[in-house]
């Protein structure tokens, strides 16, 4: 069965305050890196999934992202899925929530 590589990026919704991002932005200034106007922290989750085809992989990963990896109340997610089923290769955003 093909193995698909995927990456799910989870970020806070724009309306949600990110104190960790703000504190990190302040530290960037202290480091002397100027001009950092916005800094928000999310998560990147790397996965490999076995599935009969790309559509099934996308469906399973969408469910996983929506129900486990992200909390849709406060977070958005983006799914990047390698399309060749070899567990590697170029990936492109193919879903979001």
């Amino acid at each position: 069965m093909p193995v698909y590589s995927a990456r799910v990026l989870v970020s806070l919704r724009p309306s949600v305050l990110d104190p960790a991002g703000e504190a990190t932005r302040a530290a960037a200034n202290r480091l002397g890196v100027e001009g950092v106007a916005k800094l928000r922290i999310g998560k990147a989750v790397e996965l490999e999934i076995e599935a009969p085809d790309l559509d099934t992989a996308r469906e399973r990963l969408s469910l996983l992202s929506d129900r486990l990896l992200a909390n849709p109340v406060i977070e958005n997610w983006t799914l990047e899925l390698a399309t060749d089923g070899q567990g590697q290769g170029s990936s492109s955003p193919v879903g979001e929530g």
Binding site: P19, A20, A23, T24, A26, A27, L31, I41
Partner: protein, 217 residues
């Protein structure tokens, strides 16, 4: 003889440390607010446990840029003695004063218990009150205390006698069972266990006393 205790927003062992140094051992101690820069008159600086700046990004990552720590780095350069306990140890690694990093405990649990440690004082100025190979008991209280360093560097640390405290039961999965490290000069000590919580008979155990008392030496 005087000790400074760094206080960050989010530090929570600063008062415990001061009680241990001043209340139990009678060493004049003053707090050093993170925005201060004045270390005058101090013989040693202690970076206490807690969650500096909320431990955002990584434990100790933001604290590293605090004004007081720039002075602490210069203090170490001049041969000053610095002790980093728990979050303080994490801060010392983020500052690059000690090598490696502290990561999430192997089994993910926050650990809060007394743990036996083997002491190898070597050249570490903070541990001269202990015998070589002596076993002591100190409390640990951390979620991210698993020491990480690449195998080559660990070997180097071992060879140079910088691994001065080791877990006997390795509760968090640290490489080499490292619980505490010193620098080549022996002036800096970072450790995950809390010696300040083992100084007052009221709270059980006195094995931490000799560590803090070594300054009186």
């Amino acid at each position: 003889m005087a000790i400074g205790v760094v206080v960050f927003p989010g530090s929570n062992c600063d008062r415990d440390v001061r009680w241990a140094t001043e209340g139990c051992l009678g060493v004049p101690t003053r707090f050093l607010w993170h925005e201060e820069r004045d270390l005058s008159g101090l013989d040693a600086v202690i970076i206490p446990g807690g969650f500096s700046y909320g431990d955002y990004l990584r434990c100790g990552a933001i604290a590293r840029f605090a004004p007081i720590l720039q002075e602490v780095a210069a203090f170490v350069e001049r041969g000053g003695r610095v002790l980093g306990i728990c979050n303080g140890f994490q801060v010392l690694t983020e500052m690059g004063l000690l090598p490696g990093a502290l990561t999430r405990n192997e089994k993910l649990h926050f650990l809060c218990e007394d743990t036996p440690l083997q002491v190898s004082p070597g050249h570490c100025q903070w541990l001269q009150g202990y015998g070589d190979g002596e076993t002591i008991r100190l409390p640990i209280a951390h979620g991210e205390g698993r020491y990480q360093v690449d195998p080559g560097q660990l070997q180097q640390l071992e060879d140079s006698g910088c691994v001065v405290l080791r877990y006997q039961a390795n509760p968090n999965g640290s490489v080499g069972a490292v619980a505490g490290l010193t620098n080549p000069a022996g002036t800096v000590l970072g450790l995950m266990p809390h010696p300040e919580r083992a100084c007052d008979p009221a709270t059980g155990g006195l094995d931490g006393r000799r560590l803090l008392a070594s300054l009186l030496g």
